[in-house]
């Protein structure tokens, strides 16, 4: 070990090893997915004898697959925008105003994060039946919005808390009413948080299975479609190919959204 390295920067072998093992445990199973998407054989088994891009080609020609993909994109887009919209105002309310019963209200809003998906799904299904609504992508979106609002709010709360209240007062003092203050000062300042929230909510909605399963109608979202295809061995590899693509895209989206939130903090 070099003598002049400050204490903090000295290498810590056990900790490093632990970190490597931890990440390996998390990601190696997931990485099997793209691995086998290049496998020529349709059976998921070692050894991999031949590599191919055939499944990717098949994936691109699969009409129902693409329909399901577009369903997921549509639901994700609507969910992320509406959840973020609701999240902005609730985050602002929670961080700026003294509301009686604030803590219980926040706890209730955050509840979907900890309620098991199946319970949430069944409960919403019963509620929708009661209300006489038929199941479709709209109901899926409804469920997803419920699930994503806590994500949106948590992301935005951290942005709002780091934001000095006196700037909004200065804006009011200089002649702008609440709406203009929001548009000219608040929104530009929390904007990285808004973007991060949209991306995060989109990813959550896009990958979500349980609520889509319970609340979906005849049009499947992508995870549902892929699950349905698992029964057919010869269809499986193109599903894996699609899964690999989604994995890569999700990774970049979440990474980018976290970078936005952290990078823009002064």
């Amino acid at each position: 070990m070099r003598k002049n390295v400050p204490y903090i920067e000295r290498p810590n072998r056990p900790l490093f090893l632990y970190a490597v093992l931890f990440l390996a445990f998390l990601y190696i199973p997931v990485l099997f997915l793209p691995l086998f998407s290049f496998n020529a054989s349709i059976y998921i088994a070692f050894p991999i004898e031949n590599w191919t891009l055939r499944w990717y080609r098949e994936m691109l020609e699969n009409e129902p697959l693409f329909a399901a993909l577009m369903n997921s994109v549509r639901v994700g887009a609507v969910t992320s925008v509406l959840a973020t919209f609701l999240g902005i105002f609730s985050a602002k309310a929670v961080t700026r105003y003294q509301i009686p019963g604030k803590n219980p209200i926040v706890a209730v809003i955050m509840a979907p994060l900890v309620i098991p998906g199946i319970i949430l799904g069944v409960a919403l299904l019963i509620l929708l039946n009661y209300a006489g609504m038929s199941l479709s992508l709209y109901t899926v979106a409804l469920g997803h919005i419920l699930l994503c609002v806590p994500f949106a709010m948590a992301t935005l709360m951290s942005r709002f808390e780091g934001f000095d209240k006196s700037m909004e007062e200065a804006s009011a003092d200089l002649g702008e009413n609440a709406w203009w203050t929001f548009w000219r000062v608040t929104l530009p300042t929390v904007f990285p948080g808004v973007l991060a929230s949209v991306l995060l909510c989109f990813t959550v909605s896009f990958d979500e299975f349980i609520l889509a399963f319970f609340l979906g109608g005849t049009d499947p979202t992508l995870p549902l479609y892929m699950w349905a295809q698992l029964r057919f061995p010869n269809r499986l590899p193109s599903v894996l190919a699609m899964g690999a693509c989604i994995l890569v895209i999700s990774f970049f989206v979440v990474f980018f959204s976290q970078w936005l939130v952290r990078h823009d903090r002064d």
């Binding site: 000095d164 006196s166 700037m167 007062e169 200065a170 003092d173 200089l174 002649g175 002064d266």
Partner: protein
């Protein structure tokens, strides 16, 4: 007071935050064009009062009028006031020029006119050419000037300043104080300035309201506050002061003979109600109004004491003298290097304190 409206009229205003009384039945009239300061320690209510003028808080009771108009229904964005915040509240996502021009949106000026006004404002706060800079890259002093320009460009009737110089270092603060005073005199706007620094308040203001615990203790010109404080709390807060417990022996022809613990029997003009025979009072005298000599002075009132410590400050010296009857040493300040026999004065030397007729102030006992 008079029913004729002053320019700014704060009329029996109180502010309660739940149980806490932040401002307690305060009434102040401020004429147009005055540099008025609210002075006091943290928690005295001065910032709350300022915020009520700006519209960020509403009085629990009482009325505020500006230029004859009641302000109770008027929100901050429609008041004829502008504020310079303690932490400047500069908009970090805008450059300097956009920050300054922020309040001009509603005036719908053409681009040329807008640029002209912004440049004019930058000149006024001595930051010419800074328009394109990013606002959050400026130093504290520069940001403060941008905040000032941003408020003044709107030509408000009243400028409210909330401890604007608090975060600056001493030299910059003194520079800015002079600039602010000059600015106020040239622009002619009414300034309301909040500070806890009594030197600052005395330097800048036409009048000062000294506040504590939500009340106004005394409201007067700096000269009056310094030389004729109305009670011990004000006298102690402003500058340095020596206090002596005393009792009035008799009052005759508007002069009171007072027996003090430390200065002996003294004669003081009896101008206030509390000065009656046998009343307990406090006699106060500023350090620079006393003189230290090594020989007794037959002309003036004089008392003997012992030199405890001395401090040489270059342009002046402070001496701490113990006298019989007073437990704390008396502080005496003298310009220059002190009495001619300075070199011989040591701890324990016998010295004589003298003072002129008008040097003593009588205050009610606490």
């Amino acid at each position: 007071m008079s029913t004729n409206q002053a320019f700014i009229s704060i009329d029996c205003v109180s502010k309660h935050f739940g149980e806490v009384v932040a401002v307690d039945n305060v009434s102040i009239d401020i004429p147009a064009g005055e540099f008025f300061s609210l002075l006091g320690p943290s928690g005295c209510g001065k910032t709350t009062l300022l915020r009520m003028l700006a519209g960020f808080e509403s009085p629990t009771s009482g009325e505020i009028h500006i230029d004859g108009n009641p302000m109770s229904e008027i929100p901050p964005h429609r008041r004829p006031t502008n504020m310079v915040f303690q932490n400047y509240a500069i908009f970090p996502h805008l450059n300097v020029a956009d920050n300054i021009a922020y309040g001009l949106r509603k005036e719908k000026l053409g681009k040329a006119e807008r640029t002209r006004r912004v440049d004019e404002a930058l000149e006024m706060v001595k930051l010419p050419g800074y328009g394109k800079r990013r606002a959050n890259e400026l130093s504290g002093g520069q940001q403060q000037r941008v905040a000032l320009a941003r408020a003044l460009i709107k030509r408000p009737m009243v400028l409210l300043l909330d401890e604007p110089l608090g975060a600056l270092d001493k030299k910059l603060r003194e520079e800015m104080q002079l600039e602010l005073r000059a600015l106020q005199e040239s622009v002619g706007i009414t300034f309301i300035f909040v500070t806890h620094d009594q030197e600052e308040a005395l330097t800048l203001s036409d009048r000062v309201a000294v506040m504590a615990r939500g009340d106004v203790l005394q409201m007067a010109s700096p000269h009056e506050l310094y030389n004729r404080p109305v009670n011990v709390e004000v006298a102690d807060f402003i500058g340095q002061m020596n206090f002596f417990d005393a009792q009035v022996i008799e009052v005759q022809d508007h002069m009171a003979v007072v027996d003090t613990q430390g200065l002996g029997k003294v004669q003081v003009p009896a101008a206030a109600e509390f000065i009656r025979k046998d009343a307990k009072v406090v006699v106060a005298v500023r350090p620079e109004k006393m003189e230290l000599t090594s020989q007794p002075d037959s002309q003036n009132n004089c008392v003997r004491g012992e030199l405890a410590t001395s401090a040489y400050l270059g342009n002046r010296s402070h001496y701490f003298v113990t006298v019989e009857g007073s437990e704390n040493p008396i502080e005496v300040a003298s310009q220059g290097s002190g009495p001619e026999s300075d070199q011989t004065l040591r701890r324990g030397s016998e010295v004589w304190l003298s003072w002129a007729e008008g040097a003593l102030v009588l205050l009610p006992a606490t």
